[in-house]
Amino acid sequence: MTQRKKILLVDDSSTVLMVEQMILRNSPFDILIARDGEAGFETAVKERPDLILMDVMMPRMDGFDALREIRAHEEIKDTPVIMVTTRGEGVNIETGYTAGCNDYVTKPINGSELLSKINNLIGS
């Protein structure tokens, strides 16, 4: 029996976390949650998720710094990361890609777009 894939949701907003969980509710993934960049990095090291959905603006450590930490960590550096940004302007997206994200979605989150990007990166 194959193990279910894990997705780590990193966001300080309860609203966004709930929306993401509801979108992923019927998908075959186990959901992990962290509420800031630092906790997100620590959970990623401990739980080895198959994919991370990372918010940008968060307390303690923002999403870009957390992503840089992940890419610098030998054991989790290849984990696909989708940035969840409020602002979809070029500069934000460029910073995300420079930090090493694989893809991005903008808020308000479109469920079909998010599921499609997750499936592209780790399959359903």
Partner: protein
């Protein structure tokens, strides 16, 4: 007159040669007749074969046409199914957003939590980072109690009776500017994208004035209007509930 032997011999020879020639001609004629018959048989067989092949080609063309029609129907059905699936996913997302907004507002226990929930809904579900949350004071005048992304002078003018917003606040009705005010437009006090007045009965308990939408938003969508309605109803009840709780605590 006696016959000349040479002449007689000549005539006989000519007769024999003529007979021989005639015999060969008959044989050739017979051979040719047989050849013609054979060729006719072959022609008939070939014609039959051509007809069979033509019938086969016609049948194959018909089958191909049927298959093509079935393929087109299947492709159309797949497209329709994909569109339906996308529509269902979109509907699920919309329902998820509305459920989450409702859950956050109804689950909030104090004023700070309600304000926080309203802020998160406007930022993350509507897609606006230039907004103000206003509430009426005891005298009925409006004041800004929370805001994001709006300059101070803008906020100071917003709640005055002369403000263009005052009319929307007094009307107690949802105001939506359509087409919406986008990120590329100028920030204008008289043009909020939406002004949601939250009231219970005749009593207004708060309002949210939203200005320019985030760059990725191309306009107000049906879901946004549903969120505005939900804010107007559920946030109003949540704020009213907290207000009553505060009054009860004050009495105690």
């Amino acid at each position: 007159m006696a016959n000349d032997p040479n002449q007689e011999s000549y005539v006989r020879r000519v007769l024999e040669e003529t007979r021989e020639y005639e015999r060969r001609l008959r044989e050739d004629n017979e051979s040719l007749r047989e050849l013609v018959a054979t060729l006719e048989c072959e022609r008939i067989a070939l014609r039959k074969r051509v007809e069979e092949l033509e019938a086969g080609v016609t049948q194959q063309l018909t089958e191909m046409s049927t298959l093509r029609e079935r393929l087109t129907a299947q492709v159309n059905a797949n497209l329709k199914s994909t569109e339906q699936q996308l529509a269902i996913e979109q509907q699920n997302t919309n329902l998820a957003n509305l459920y989450v907004a409702s859950y956050r507002l109804n689950g909030a226990l104090d004023r700070a939590e309600i304000v926080d929930a309203i802020r998160e809904i406007v930022i993350n579900l509507v897609g606006c980072e230039e907004f103000a949350l206003l509430e009426p004071d005891h005298g009925g005048a409006w004041k800004v109690c929370s805001s994001m992304g709006l300059p101070e002078d803008f906020l100071a003018r917003m709640a005055t009776p002369e403000s263009p917003l005052a009319g929307h606040l007094e009307s107690r009705r949802l105001h939506v500017t359509d087409p919406a005010v986008l990120s590329v437009d100028e920030l204008d006090l008289s043009r909020p994208t939406a002004c949601v007045v939250m009231s219970v009965g005749d009593e207004a308990v708060g309002a949210v004035a939203m200005y320019r939408l985030l760059p990725q938003k191309s306009g107000i969508e049906p879901l946004d209007r549903e969120i505005f309605d939900l804010l107007a109803a559920n946030a109003a009840m949540a704020l009213y509930r907290v207000k009553l709780q505060e009054q009860v605590k004050g009495v105690q």
